[in-house]
Protein backbone atom coordinates (compact mmCIF):
# COMPACT_ATOMS: atom_id res chain seq x y z
CA UNK A 1 0.00 0.00 0.00
CA UNK A 2 2.89 2.34 0.73
CA UNK A 3 4.27 1.78 -2.70
CA UNK A 4 1.45 3.78 -4.26
CA UNK A 5 2.91 7.21 -4.79
CA UNK A 6 1.37 9.11 -7.67
CA UNK A 7 -1.48 11.50 -6.92
CA UNK A 8 -4.04 9.61 -8.89
CA UNK A 9 -3.42 6.32 -7.13
CA UNK A 10 -3.49 8.09 -3.78
CA UNK A 11 -6.90 9.43 -4.64
CA UNK A 12 -8.03 5.97 -5.62
CA UNK A 13 -6.74 4.64 -2.33
CA UNK A 14 -8.66 7.20 -0.31
CA UNK A 15 -11.80 6.11 -2.11
CA UNK A 16 -11.25 2.43 -1.42
CA UNK A 17 -14.53 0.99 -0.17
CA UNK A 18 -12.69 -0.71 2.70
CA UNK A 19 -12.14 2.73 4.26
CA UNK A 20 -15.86 3.43 4.52
CA UNK A 21 -17.33 3.07 8.00
CA UNK A 22 -20.87 2.56 6.72
CA UNK A 23 -20.28 -0.05 4.03
CA UNK A 24 -21.30 -3.41 5.50
CA UNK A 25 -18.37 -5.78 5.82
CA UNK A 26 -16.72 -7.99 8.40
CA UNK A 27 -14.20 -6.09 10.46
CA UNK A 28 -10.69 -7.51 10.81
CA UNK A 29 -10.82 -9.77 13.91
CA UNK A 30 -7.50 -8.38 15.14
CA UNK A 31 -9.09 -4.94 15.51
CA UNK A 32 -11.82 -6.33 17.77
CA UNK A 33 -9.23 -8.15 19.86
CA UNK A 34 -7.08 -5.03 20.27
CA UNK A 35 -10.21 -3.09 21.31
CA UNK A 36 -11.27 -5.78 23.82
CA UNK A 37 -7.80 -6.21 25.29
CA UNK A 38 -7.58 -2.44 25.68
CA UNK A 39 -10.82 -2.40 27.67
CA UNK A 40 -9.68 -5.40 29.74
CA UNK A 41 -6.35 -3.77 30.49
CA UNK A 42 -8.19 -0.62 31.59
CA UNK A 43 -10.48 -2.71 33.82
CA UNK A 44 -7.47 -4.38 35.40
CA UNK A 45 -6.66 -1.01 36.97
CA UNK A 46 -10.16 -0.40 38.34
CA UNK A 47 -11.88 -1.84 41.36
CA UNK A 48 -14.24 1.11 41.28
CA UNK A 49 -17.61 -0.65 40.83
CA UNK A 50 -19.08 2.23 38.83
CA UNK A 51 -16.09 2.20 36.49
CA UNK A 52 -16.34 -1.56 36.03
CA UNK A 53 -20.10 -1.38 35.39
CA UNK A 54 -19.44 1.36 32.82
CA UNK A 55 -16.96 -0.86 30.98
CA UNK A 56 -19.40 -3.80 31.14
CA UNK A 57 -22.18 -1.64 29.69
CA UNK A 58 -19.86 -0.35 26.98
CA UNK A 59 -18.82 -3.88 25.97
CA UNK A 60 -22.43 -5.07 26.00
CA UNK A 61 -23.63 -2.13 23.90
CA UNK A 62 -20.93 -2.58 21.27
CA UNK A 63 -21.65 -6.32 21.08
CA UNK A 64 -25.38 -5.67 20.60
CA UNK A 65 -24.71 -3.06 17.95
CA UNK A 66 -22.09 -4.83 15.87
CA UNK A 67 -22.43 -8.58 16.19
CA UNK A 68 -23.20 -10.82 13.26
CA UNK A 69 -25.65 -13.72 13.06
CA UNK A 70 -22.91 -16.33 13.40
CA UNK A 71 -23.25 -18.89 16.20
CA UNK A 72 -20.40 -17.43 18.25
CA UNK A 73 -22.03 -13.98 18.15
CA UNK A 74 -24.37 -15.08 20.94
CA UNK A 75 -21.48 -15.91 23.28
CA UNK A 76 -21.72 -12.67 25.25
CA UNK A 77 -24.78 -13.78 27.22
CA UNK A 78 -22.87 -16.82 28.42
CA UNK A 79 -19.98 -14.64 29.51
CA UNK A 80 -22.40 -12.42 31.45
CA UNK A 81 -23.71 -15.48 33.30
CA UNK A 82 -20.11 -16.53 34.03
CA UNK A 83 -19.50 -13.02 35.38
CA UNK A 84 -22.45 -13.31 37.78
CA UNK A 85 -21.15 -16.68 38.95
CA UNK A 86 -17.69 -15.21 39.56
CA UNK A 87 -19.11 -12.40 41.67
CA UNK A 88 -21.27 -14.77 43.73
CA UNK A 89 -18.38 -17.20 44.32
CA UNK A 90 -16.08 -14.35 45.31
CA UNK A 91 -18.57 -12.97 47.82
CA UNK A 92 -19.30 -16.37 49.33
CA UNK A 93 -15.63 -17.30 49.64
CA UNK A 94 -14.46 -13.99 50.97
CA UNK A 95 -17.33 -13.31 53.33
CA UNK A 96 -17.62 -16.80 54.77
CA UNK A 97 -14.13 -18.23 54.61
CA UNK A 98 -11.64 -15.38 54.84
CA UNK A 99 -10.78 -13.26 57.83
CA UNK A 100 -9.37 -10.61 55.50
CA UNK A 101 -11.06 -7.31 54.76
CA UNK A 102 -13.38 -7.70 57.71
CA UNK A 103 -14.48 -4.31 58.99
CA UNK A 104 -16.77 -3.33 61.81
CA UNK A 105 -20.21 -2.98 60.20
CA UNK A 106 -21.78 -6.36 60.87
CA UNK A 107 -24.55 -7.71 58.62
CA UNK A 108 -25.11 -11.04 60.29
CA UNK A 109 -23.32 -13.34 62.71
CA UNK A 110 -23.29 -16.93 61.48
CA UNK A 111 -22.46 -19.84 63.73
CA UNK A 112 -18.70 -20.24 63.58
CA UNK A 113 -16.88 -23.53 63.37
CA UNK A 114 -13.56 -23.24 65.20
CA UNK A 115 -10.49 -24.04 63.12
CA UNK A 116 -7.05 -25.00 64.40
CA UNK A 117 -4.74 -22.03 64.89
CA UNK A 118 -2.64 -23.13 61.90
CA UNK A 119 -5.38 -21.97 59.53
CA UNK A 120 -4.30 -18.33 59.57
CA UNK A 121 -6.52 -16.07 57.51
CA UNK A 122 -9.26 -18.72 57.31
CA UNK A 123 -12.51 -19.05 59.17
CA UNK A 124 -15.78 -20.92 58.74
CA UNK A 125 -18.83 -18.80 59.36
CA UNK A 126 -18.75 -16.16 62.06
CA UNK A 127 -19.23 -12.45 61.55
CA UNK A 128 -20.08 -11.28 58.04
CA UNK A 129 -19.48 -7.57 57.58
CA UNK A 130 -20.57 -5.06 54.95
CA UNK A 131 -16.94 -4.21 54.30
CA UNK A 132 -16.08 -7.82 53.44
CA UNK A 133 -19.11 -8.27 51.17
CA UNK A 134 -18.64 -4.99 49.31
CA UNK A 135 -14.89 -5.50 48.88
CA UNK A 136 -15.55 -9.00 47.54
CA UNK A 137 -18.21 -7.62 45.19
CA UNK A 138 -15.86 -4.94 43.85
CA UNK A 139 -13.05 -7.42 43.21
CA UNK A 140 -15.38 -10.00 41.70
CA UNK A 141 -16.88 -7.32 39.46
CA UNK A 142 -13.41 -6.35 38.25
CA UNK A 143 -12.58 -9.93 37.28
CA UNK A 144 -16.02 -10.31 35.71
CA UNK A 145 -15.52 -7.15 33.65
CA UNK A 146 -12.19 -8.36 32.31
CA UNK A 147 -13.71 -11.70 31.35
CA UNK A 148 -16.70 -10.01 29.69
CA UNK A 149 -14.37 -7.77 27.63
CA UNK A 150 -12.68 -10.90 26.30
CA UNK A 151 -16.15 -12.38 25.81
CA UNK A 152 -17.06 -9.36 23.71
CA UNK A 153 -14.10 -10.05 21.43
CA UNK A 154 -15.22 -13.68 21.16
CA UNK A 155 -18.71 -12.57 20.18
CA UNK A 156 -17.58 -9.96 17.66
CA UNK A 157 -14.60 -11.61 15.96
CA UNK A 158 -14.53 -14.96 14.24
CA UNK A 159 -11.80 -17.12 15.71
CA UNK A 160 -11.27 -18.82 12.35
CA UNK A 161 -10.64 -15.51 10.60
CA UNK A 162 -8.25 -14.52 13.39
CA UNK A 163 -6.28 -17.73 12.95
CA UNK A 164 -5.96 -17.00 9.25
CA UNK A 165 -4.13 -13.79 10.15
CA UNK A 166 -1.42 -15.69 12.02
CA UNK A 167 2.00 -14.81 10.62
CA UNK A 168 3.69 -17.40 8.46
CA UNK A 169 6.25 -18.37 11.08
CA UNK A 170 3.51 -19.75 13.30
CA UNK A 171 1.89 -21.75 10.57
CA UNK A 172 2.20 -25.12 12.35
CA UNK A 173 0.25 -23.66 15.26
CA UNK A 174 -2.14 -22.09 12.78
CA UNK A 175 -2.78 -25.37 11.01
CA UNK A 176 -3.48 -27.15 14.29
CA UNK A 177 -5.74 -24.28 15.37
CA UNK A 178 -7.66 -24.17 12.09
CA UNK A 179 -8.19 -27.91 12.09
CA UNK A 180 -9.38 -27.89 15.70
CA UNK A 181 -11.60 -24.86 15.22
CA UNK A 182 -13.15 -26.35 12.10
CA UNK A 183 -13.62 -29.87 13.33
CA UNK A 184 -14.91 -29.56 16.86
CA UNK A 185 -18.08 -27.70 15.79
CA UNK A 186 -18.55 -29.88 12.70
CA UNK A 187 -18.18 -33.03 14.75
CA UNK A 188 -20.85 -31.80 17.16
CA UNK A 189 -23.11 -30.81 14.28
CA UNK A 190 -22.61 -34.24 12.69
CA UNK A 191 -23.36 -36.01 15.95
CA UNK A 192 -26.55 -33.99 16.46
CA UNK A 193 -27.65 -34.68 12.88
CA UNK A 194 -27.04 -38.41 13.13
CA UNK A 195 -28.76 -38.62 16.50
CA UNK A 196 -31.85 -36.81 15.32
CA UNK A 197 -31.92 -39.09 12.27
CA UNK A 198 -31.80 -42.10 14.59
CA UNK A 199 -34.61 -40.72 16.70
CA UNK A 200 -36.74 -40.07 13.65
CA UNK A 201 -36.39 -43.75 12.87
CA UNK A 202 -37.69 -44.58 16.32
CA UNK A 203 -34.44 -45.37 18.13
CA UNK A 204 -33.55 -43.90 21.48
CA UNK A 205 -30.74 -41.48 20.68
CA UNK A 206 -29.06 -41.71 24.06
CA UNK A 207 -28.48 -45.39 24.74
CA UNK A 208 -25.07 -47.03 24.46
CA UNK A 209 -26.18 -48.93 21.38
CA UNK A 210 -27.24 -45.69 19.71
CA UNK A 211 -23.86 -44.13 20.41
CA UNK A 212 -22.19 -47.16 18.85
CA UNK A 213 -24.51 -46.96 15.86
CA UNK A 214 -23.90 -43.22 15.33
CA UNK A 215 -20.13 -43.29 15.92
CA UNK A 216 -19.44 -44.77 12.50
CA UNK A 217 -21.22 -42.16 10.34
CA UNK A 218 -19.90 -39.32 12.48
CA UNK A 219 -16.29 -40.48 12.15
CA UNK A 220 -16.79 -41.18 8.47
CA UNK A 221 -18.05 -37.62 7.92
CA UNK A 222 -15.12 -36.23 9.88
CA UNK A 223 -12.65 -38.22 7.80
CA UNK A 224 -14.23 -37.06 4.56
CA UNK A 225 -14.09 -33.46 5.67
CA UNK A 226 -10.50 -33.71 6.84
CA UNK A 227 -9.48 -35.05 3.43
CA UNK A 228 -11.31 -32.10 1.82
CA UNK A 229 -9.63 -29.58 4.11
CA UNK A 230 -6.21 -31.14 3.59
CA UNK A 231 -6.66 -30.83 -0.16
CA UNK A 232 -7.77 -27.20 0.18
CA UNK A 233 -4.81 -26.33 2.41
CA UNK A 234 -2.42 -28.19 0.16
CA UNK A 235 -3.58 -26.17 -2.83
CA UNK A 236 -2.83 -22.91 -0.96
CA UNK A 237 0.70 -23.91 -0.16
CA UNK A 238 0.33 -25.09 3.42
CA UNK A 239 3.04 -27.50 4.39
CA UNK A 240 5.42 -26.27 1.69
CA UNK A 241 8.64 -24.80 3.02
CA UNK A 242 10.89 -22.75 0.79
CA UNK A 243 13.86 -22.56 3.15
CA UNK A 244 14.67 -25.84 4.77
CA UNK A 245 17.85 -25.11 6.68
CA UNK A 246 17.84 -26.54 10.18
CA UNK A 247 19.73 -23.57 11.63
CA UNK A 248 17.15 -21.09 10.32
CA UNK A 249 14.33 -23.17 11.74
CA UNK A 250 15.96 -23.33 15.17
CA UNK A 251 16.75 -19.61 15.18
CA UNK A 252 13.18 -18.78 14.25
CA UNK A 253 11.75 -21.03 16.92
CA UNK A 254 14.14 -19.60 19.54
CA UNK A 255 13.34 -16.01 18.62
CA UNK A 256 9.59 -16.56 18.63
CA UNK A 257 9.56 -18.49 21.90
CA UNK A 258 11.88 -15.97 23.55
CA UNK A 259 9.70 -13.16 22.27
CA UNK A 260 6.49 -14.75 23.51
CA UNK A 261 8.00 -15.36 26.95
CA UNK A 262 9.16 -11.73 27.00
CA UNK A 263 5.69 -10.52 26.00
CA UNK A 264 4.11 -12.65 28.73
CA UNK A 265 6.49 -11.39 31.40
CA UNK A 266 6.12 -7.80 30.22
CA UNK A 267 2.32 -8.01 30.10
CA UNK A 268 2.27 -9.53 33.57
CA UNK A 269 4.52 -6.78 34.87
CA UNK A 270 2.41 -4.12 33.20
CA UNK A 271 -1.07 -5.43 34.04
CA UNK A 272 -0.34 -6.76 37.49
CA UNK A 273 0.36 -3.84 39.74
CA UNK A 274 3.46 -5.59 41.08
CA UNK A 275 5.35 -2.68 39.63
CA UNK A 276 8.87 -4.05 39.59
CA UNK A 277 10.55 -1.86 37.02
CA UNK A 278 12.40 -4.38 34.84
CA UNK A 279 9.27 -6.48 34.32
CA UNK A 280 7.09 -3.82 32.77
CA UNK A 281 7.59 -1.92 29.55
CA UNK A 282 11.25 -2.85 28.83
CA UNK A 283 10.56 -6.58 28.90
CA UNK A 284 7.42 -6.12 26.82
CA UNK A 285 9.33 -4.05 24.25
CA UNK A 286 12.17 -6.55 24.09
CA UNK A 287 9.71 -9.44 23.78
CA UNK A 288 7.79 -7.69 20.99
CA UNK A 289 11.02 -6.94 19.12
CA UNK A 290 12.24 -10.54 19.42
CA UNK A 291 8.89 -11.91 18.34
CA UNK A 292 8.65 -9.57 15.33
CA UNK A 293 12.15 -10.49 14.18
CA UNK A 294 11.36 -14.17 14.64
CA UNK A 295 8.09 -13.86 12.74
CA UNK A 296 9.68 -11.96 9.87
CA UNK A 297 12.56 -14.42 9.59
CA UNK A 298 10.22 -17.38 9.89
CA UNK A 299 7.63 -15.91 7.56
CA UNK A 300 10.06 -16.09 4.67
CA UNK A 301 10.22 -19.84 4.85
CA UNK A 302 6.60 -20.52 3.96
CA UNK A 303 5.11 -19.56 0.65
CA UNK A 304 1.40 -19.97 1.17
CA UNK A 305 -1.22 -17.69 -0.32
CA UNK A 306 -4.29 -16.29 1.39
CA UNK A 307 -7.84 -16.70 0.18
CA UNK A 308 -9.57 -13.27 0.31
CA UNK A 309 -7.45 -11.68 3.07
CA UNK A 310 -9.22 -9.32 5.47
CA UNK A 311 -8.25 -5.71 4.80
CA UNK A 312 -6.88 -3.49 7.56
CA UNK A 313 -8.30 -0.09 6.68
CA UNK A 314 -9.65 3.00 8.40
CA UNK A 315 -12.41 1.29 10.47
CA UNK A 316 -9.84 -1.18 11.83
CA UNK A 317 -7.57 1.67 12.89
CA UNK A 318 -10.50 3.45 14.56
CA UNK A 319 -11.72 0.38 16.47
CA UNK A 320 -8.25 -0.66 17.64
CA UNK A 321 -7.44 2.96 18.46
CA UNK A 322 -10.53 3.33 20.64
CA UNK A 323 -9.47 0.31 22.72
CA UNK A 324 -5.92 1.59 23.08
CA UNK A 325 -7.18 5.07 23.95
CA UNK A 326 -9.49 3.66 26.63
CA UNK A 327 -6.60 1.71 28.15
CA UNK A 328 -4.27 4.72 28.10
CA UNK A 329 -6.88 7.02 29.68
CA UNK A 330 -7.70 4.50 32.41
CA UNK A 331 -4.00 3.92 33.15
CA UNK A 332 -3.56 7.70 33.42
CA UNK A 333 -6.57 7.81 35.74
CA UNK A 334 -5.08 5.12 37.96
CA UNK A 335 -1.91 7.19 38.11
CA UNK A 336 -3.53 10.58 38.67
CA UNK A 337 -6.45 9.56 40.93
CA UNK A 338 -5.49 6.31 42.66
CA UNK A 339 -8.36 6.84 45.08
CA UNK A 340 -10.86 6.83 42.21
CA UNK A 341 -9.45 3.79 40.42
CA UNK A 342 -9.21 1.73 43.62
CA UNK A 343 -11.64 3.23 46.15
CA UNK A 344 -9.95 3.08 49.56
CA UNK A 345 -13.09 2.95 51.71
CA UNK A 346 -15.55 0.27 50.56
CA UNK A 347 -18.53 1.76 52.38
CA UNK A 348 -18.23 5.20 50.82
CA UNK A 349 -19.71 6.14 47.48
CA UNK A 350 -16.82 5.71 45.03
CA UNK A 351 -15.42 8.80 43.39
CA UNK A 352 -16.14 9.22 39.69
CA UNK A 353 -13.80 11.75 38.08
CA UNK A 354 -14.78 12.89 34.55
CA UNK A 355 -11.67 11.13 33.23
CA UNK A 356 -13.21 7.78 34.17
CA UNK A 357 -16.32 8.55 32.13
CA UNK A 358 -14.21 9.72 29.19
CA UNK A 359 -12.04 6.59 29.33
CA UNK A 360 -15.02 4.25 29.37
CA UNK A 361 -16.98 6.14 26.71
CA UNK A 362 -14.07 6.17 24.28
CA UNK A 363 -14.56 2.41 24.26
CA UNK A 364 -18.14 2.70 22.97
CA UNK A 365 -17.10 4.40 19.72
CA UNK A 366 -16.81 1.11 17.73
CA UNK A 367 -20.60 0.80 18.03
CA UNK A 368 -20.74 3.72 15.58
CA UNK A 369 -17.37 3.63 13.81
CA UNK A 370 -17.18 -0.05 12.90
CA UNK A 371 -18.95 -1.08 9.71
CA UNK A 372 -22.12 -3.10 10.30
CA UNK A 373 -21.77 -6.85 9.75
CA UNK A 374 -23.09 -7.84 6.31
CA UNK A 375 -25.56 -10.47 7.46
CA UNK A 376 -27.38 -7.92 9.63
CA UNK A 377 -27.78 -5.31 6.93
CA UNK A 378 -29.21 -7.57 4.25
CA UNK A 379 -32.52 -7.54 6.14
CA UNK A 380 -32.98 -3.86 5.42
CA UNK A 381 -32.61 -4.41 1.70
CA UNK A 382 -29.28 -2.59 1.40
CA UNK A 383 -26.69 -4.09 -0.91
CA UNK A 384 -23.92 -6.13 0.62
Amino acid sequence: MMRLSSDSTRQVRSLRPAHSITLARTLHPGAWWVWAIGLAAGASRLTNPIGCLLLLAVAGFVVSARRSRAPWAYAFGGFLKLALLIIVIRIVLQALLSTESQGVHTIVVLPQIPLPSGAAGLKLGGVVTWEAVITAFDQGLQLATIICCIGAANALASAQRLLRCLPGALYEVGVAGVVAMTFAPQLVADAVRVRSALRLRGYDGRSVAAVRRSAMPVLEGALARSVDLAAAMDSRGYGRTTVDRRATRMATAGLVIGGVVGICAGTYGLLGSAGSGWMGLPTLGLGCALAVVGLVVGGRRTGRSRYRPDPWALPEWLVAGSGVAAAVILFLLAHAHPGAAVPPYPLQMPEVPPLLLVGALVGVLPAFLAPPPPDRVVDKGRPR
Partner: protein, 253 residues
Protein backbone atom coordinates in the same frame (compact mmCIF):
# COMPACT_ATOMS: atom_id res chain seq x y z
CA UNK B 1 7.43 -16.26 45.04
CA UNK B 2 7.51 -14.54 41.70
CA UNK B 3 8.61 -17.51 39.61
CA UNK B 4 5.54 -19.75 40.05
CA UNK B 5 3.37 -16.76 39.21
CA UNK B 6 5.47 -16.04 36.18
CA UNK B 7 5.19 -19.65 35.13
CA UNK B 8 1.46 -19.39 35.65
CA UNK B 9 1.36 -16.31 33.46
CA UNK B 10 3.35 -18.04 30.72
CA UNK B 11 1.12 -21.10 30.75
CA UNK B 12 -1.99 -18.97 30.87
CA UNK B 13 -0.96 -16.95 27.86
CA UNK B 14 -0.22 -20.10 25.97
CA UNK B 15 -3.81 -21.15 26.61
CA UNK B 16 -5.07 -17.72 25.68
CA UNK B 17 -4.82 -14.12 26.65
CA UNK B 18 -8.05 -14.49 28.57
CA UNK B 19 -6.55 -16.45 31.39
CA UNK B 20 -3.52 -14.19 31.55
CA UNK B 21 -5.49 -11.00 31.97
CA UNK B 22 -7.96 -12.61 34.32
CA UNK B 23 -5.44 -13.94 36.81
CA UNK B 24 -3.00 -11.07 36.77
CA UNK B 25 -5.01 -8.52 38.72
CA UNK B 26 -6.29 -11.14 41.12
CA UNK B 27 -2.86 -12.35 42.07
CA UNK B 28 -0.98 -9.13 41.68
CA UNK B 29 -2.56 -7.48 44.69
CA UNK B 30 -0.87 -9.98 46.94
CA UNK B 31 2.56 -9.03 45.70
CA UNK B 32 1.99 -5.31 45.81
CA UNK B 33 2.86 -4.87 49.45
CA UNK B 34 5.70 -5.86 51.68
CA UNK B 35 3.93 -8.36 53.88
CA UNK B 36 4.78 -6.85 57.16
CA UNK B 37 1.70 -6.40 59.25
CA UNK B 38 -0.30 -9.42 58.30
CA UNK B 39 2.14 -12.28 58.28
CA UNK B 40 3.99 -13.15 61.43
CA UNK B 41 6.60 -15.24 59.64
CA UNK B 42 7.70 -12.34 57.54
CA UNK B 43 7.65 -9.94 60.44
CA UNK B 44 10.13 -12.16 62.23
CA UNK B 45 12.43 -12.03 59.24
CA UNK B 46 11.76 -8.36 58.75
CA UNK B 47 13.12 -5.19 60.20
CA UNK B 48 13.52 -6.56 63.74
CA UNK B 49 16.51 -8.78 63.25
CA UNK B 50 17.89 -6.72 60.46
CA UNK B 51 17.68 -9.37 57.74
CA UNK B 52 15.93 -7.27 55.16
CA UNK B 53 18.42 -4.34 55.05
CA UNK B 54 21.11 -6.70 53.79
CA UNK B 55 19.32 -6.73 50.46
CA UNK B 56 19.62 -2.95 50.30
CA UNK B 57 15.86 -2.49 50.23
CA UNK B 58 13.99 -0.66 52.98
CA UNK B 59 10.29 -0.10 53.43
CA UNK B 60 8.18 2.67 54.80
CA UNK B 61 4.91 1.32 56.16
CA UNK B 62 2.49 1.37 59.06
CA UNK B 63 4.22 -0.67 61.75
CA UNK B 64 2.09 -2.30 64.44
CA UNK B 65 3.38 -2.27 68.01
CA UNK B 66 2.14 -3.48 71.38
CA UNK B 67 2.87 -1.67 74.63
CA UNK B 68 4.72 -3.81 77.13
CA UNK B 69 3.66 -2.53 80.54
CA UNK B 70 6.31 -4.49 82.45
CA UNK B 71 9.22 -3.15 80.40
CA UNK B 72 7.51 0.20 79.82
CA UNK B 73 8.45 0.00 76.14
CA UNK B 74 6.95 -0.66 72.70
CA UNK B 75 7.35 -4.15 71.25
CA UNK B 76 7.04 -4.91 67.54
CA UNK B 77 3.92 -7.03 67.37
CA UNK B 78 4.54 -10.66 66.45
CA UNK B 79 1.08 -10.85 64.86
CA UNK B 80 -0.86 -8.65 62.47
CA UNK B 81 -3.41 -6.13 63.66
CA UNK B 82 -6.25 -8.26 62.33
CA UNK B 83 -5.02 -11.48 63.90
CA UNK B 84 -7.41 -13.43 66.10
CA UNK B 85 -4.82 -13.27 68.86
CA UNK B 86 -5.36 -9.53 69.24
CA UNK B 87 -9.02 -10.21 69.97
CA UNK B 88 -8.04 -11.74 73.33
CA UNK B 89 -6.74 -8.39 74.56
CA UNK B 90 -8.70 -6.98 77.50
CA UNK B 91 -9.21 -3.47 78.83
CA UNK B 92 -5.85 -1.92 79.43
CA UNK B 93 -4.18 -2.98 76.20
CA UNK B 94 -2.34 -0.25 74.31
CA UNK B 95 -1.55 -0.57 70.61
CA UNK B 96 0.72 1.67 68.62
CA UNK B 97 0.73 2.43 64.90
CA UNK B 98 3.72 4.18 63.46
CA UNK B 99 4.33 5.26 59.88
CA UNK B 100 8.08 5.13 59.46
CA UNK B 101 10.87 4.46 57.05
CA UNK B 102 12.48 1.40 58.56
CA UNK B 103 16.07 0.80 57.54
CA UNK B 104 17.63 -1.24 60.33
CA UNK B 105 15.93 -0.92 63.67
CA UNK B 106 12.19 -0.91 64.38
CA UNK B 107 10.85 2.58 64.90
CA UNK B 108 7.98 2.49 67.39
CA UNK B 109 5.65 5.42 68.16
CA UNK B 110 7.48 8.35 69.64
CA UNK B 111 5.10 8.69 72.60
CA UNK B 112 4.69 6.12 75.39
CA UNK B 113 1.53 4.02 75.58
CA UNK B 114 -0.03 5.71 78.57
CA UNK B 115 -3.37 3.93 79.01
CA UNK B 116 -4.51 6.13 81.88
CA UNK B 117 -3.93 9.32 79.91
CA UNK B 118 -5.65 8.04 76.76
CA UNK B 119 -8.52 5.98 78.14
CA UNK B 120 -8.74 7.35 81.66
CA UNK B 121 -11.76 9.53 80.98
CA UNK B 122 -13.70 6.90 79.02
CA UNK B 123 -16.14 4.40 80.49
CA UNK B 124 -17.04 1.07 78.90
CA UNK B 125 -20.41 -0.67 79.40
CA UNK B 126 -20.53 -4.35 80.33
CA UNK B 127 -19.42 -6.68 77.56
CA UNK B 128 -17.16 -4.08 75.99
CA UNK B 129 -13.49 -3.34 76.44
CA UNK B 130 -11.41 -0.20 76.22
CA UNK B 131 -8.34 -0.28 73.97
CA UNK B 132 -5.94 2.65 73.77
CA UNK B 133 -4.30 3.55 70.46
CA UNK B 134 -1.23 5.67 69.82
CA UNK B 135 -1.20 6.73 66.18
CA UNK B 136 2.09 8.30 65.14
CA UNK B 137 2.18 9.57 61.56
CA UNK B 138 5.96 9.90 61.63
CA UNK B 139 8.24 12.70 60.61
CA UNK B 140 8.52 14.64 57.38
CA UNK B 141 11.49 12.49 56.33
CA UNK B 142 9.28 9.39 56.65
CA UNK B 143 6.66 10.87 54.35
CA UNK B 144 6.36 8.97 51.05
CA UNK B 145 5.35 12.10 49.14
CA UNK B 146 5.02 15.79 49.77
CA UNK B 147 2.11 15.04 52.09
CA UNK B 148 2.69 16.51 55.56
CA UNK B 149 2.20 14.04 58.40
CA UNK B 150 -0.55 15.02 60.88
CA UNK B 151 0.28 15.36 64.56
CA UNK B 152 0.48 12.08 66.49
CA UNK B 153 -2.70 11.35 68.39
CA UNK B 154 -3.91 9.07 71.13
CA UNK B 155 -7.44 7.72 71.07
CA UNK B 156 -9.55 5.33 73.11
CA UNK B 157 -11.74 2.72 71.39
CA UNK B 158 -14.70 1.14 73.18
CA UNK B 159 -15.46 -2.08 71.33
CA UNK B 160 -17.06 -5.50 71.87
CA UNK B 161 -14.71 -7.81 73.74
CA UNK B 162 -14.23 -10.01 70.66
CA UNK B 163 -12.90 -7.21 68.42
CA UNK B 164 -9.42 -7.43 66.96
CA UNK B 165 -7.00 -4.52 67.14
CA UNK B 166 -7.78 -3.55 63.56
CA UNK B 167 -11.53 -3.63 64.12
CA UNK B 168 -11.08 -1.50 67.24
CA UNK B 169 -8.96 0.99 65.33
CA UNK B 170 -11.58 1.04 62.57
CA UNK B 171 -14.07 2.55 65.04
CA UNK B 172 -11.85 5.52 65.90
CA UNK B 173 -9.96 6.18 62.66
CA UNK B 174 -10.70 5.84 58.97
CA UNK B 175 -8.70 2.91 57.66
CA UNK B 176 -7.63 2.39 54.08
CA UNK B 177 -6.81 -1.27 53.54
CA UNK B 178 -5.75 -3.29 50.52
CA UNK B 179 -7.43 -6.44 49.29
CA UNK B 180 -5.63 -8.49 51.94
CA UNK B 181 -6.90 -6.21 54.72
CA UNK B 182 -3.41 -4.85 55.26
CA UNK B 183 -3.50 -1.33 56.68
CA UNK B 184 -2.29 1.01 53.95
CA UNK B 185 -3.42 4.34 55.34
CA UNK B 186 -4.83 5.75 58.58
CA UNK B 187 -6.93 8.92 58.51
CA UNK B 188 -5.97 9.40 54.88
CA UNK B 189 -2.22 9.25 55.54
CA UNK B 190 -0.60 8.43 53.24
CA UNK B 191 -3.30 9.20 50.70
CA UNK B 192 -2.26 6.50 48.25
CA UNK B 193 -0.09 3.44 47.90
CA UNK B 194 0.41 0.65 50.36
CA UNK B 195 3.83 0.75 51.90
CA UNK B 196 6.75 1.89 49.86
CA UNK B 197 9.90 0.11 48.79
CA UNK B 198 13.02 2.25 48.93
CA UNK B 199 16.35 1.04 47.65
CA UNK B 200 19.52 2.04 49.49
CA UNK B 201 17.80 4.36 51.95
CA UNK B 202 19.95 6.27 54.39
CA UNK B 203 19.03 5.52 58.02
CA UNK B 204 16.79 8.29 59.36
CA UNK B 205 17.90 10.35 62.39
CA UNK B 206 16.94 8.87 65.76
CA UNK B 207 13.42 9.73 66.92
CA UNK B 208 12.76 12.18 69.71
CA UNK B 209 9.75 12.15 71.97
CA UNK B 210 6.50 13.83 71.08
CA UNK B 211 3.34 14.84 72.91
CA UNK B 212 0.13 13.09 71.86
CA UNK B 213 -2.98 15.00 70.90
CA UNK B 214 -5.77 13.47 72.93
CA UNK B 215 -8.70 15.57 71.74
CA UNK B 216 -11.08 14.53 69.01
CA UNK B 217 -12.05 10.93 69.59
CA UNK B 218 -13.54 9.77 66.32
CA UNK B 219 -12.56 9.22 62.75
CA UNK B 220 -11.29 12.33 61.10
CA UNK B 221 -13.59 13.45 58.33
CA UNK B 222 -11.53 13.11 55.20
CA UNK B 223 -14.32 12.08 52.86
CA UNK B 224 -14.20 15.24 50.83
CA UNK B 225 -15.26 13.59 47.60
CA UNK B 226 -17.78 15.92 46.03
CA UNK B 227 -18.14 13.98 42.79
CA UNK B 228 -21.77 13.03 43.34
CA UNK B 229 -22.98 14.75 40.13
CA UNK B 230 -20.52 12.64 38.15
CA UNK B 231 -21.68 9.52 39.93
CA UNK B 232 -25.23 10.32 38.80
CA UNK B 233 -24.02 10.97 35.25
CA UNK B 234 -22.16 7.65 35.29
CA UNK B 235 -25.23 5.76 36.54
CA UNK B 236 -27.38 7.39 33.84
CA UNK B 237 -24.80 6.44 31.19
CA UNK B 238 -24.71 2.85 32.43
CA UNK B 239 -28.50 2.68 32.35
CA UNK B 240 -28.63 4.22 28.85
CA UNK B 241 -26.01 1.83 27.46
CA UNK B 242 -27.70 -1.15 29.08
CA UNK B 243 -31.10 -0.15 27.74
CA UNK B 244 -29.60 0.53 24.32
CA UNK B 245 -27.97 -2.89 24.26
CA UNK B 246 -31.25 -4.50 25.24
CA UNK B 247 -33.22 -2.64 22.57
CA UNK B 248 -30.69 -3.46 19.83
CA UNK B 249 -30.74 -7.08 20.89
CA UNK B 250 -34.53 -7.22 20.85
CA UNK B 251 -34.76 -5.50 17.47
CA UNK B 252 -32.25 -7.73 15.77
CA UNK B 253 -32.93 -11.08 17.38
Amino acid sequence: MASPRLALAVVATAVGFLACTATAPATAAATAVPHIQAQPAQVAAGPIDGVRPLTGVSYSYWGFYQWDRAKHAWQFSPVGANDKQTATATTGAVYGFRWALVVKTPRPPRAPGDFAAICGGTKAPAGKKRIAFVIDFGTATDSPSSQRPPAPRGVCAVVPSSATAQQALDTVASLRTNSSALICGIDGYPSSGCGQKIANATPPPPDGRVQLQLAGNGPSTDSGSSSLPWVIVAVVVIAALGAGAWLLRARRA
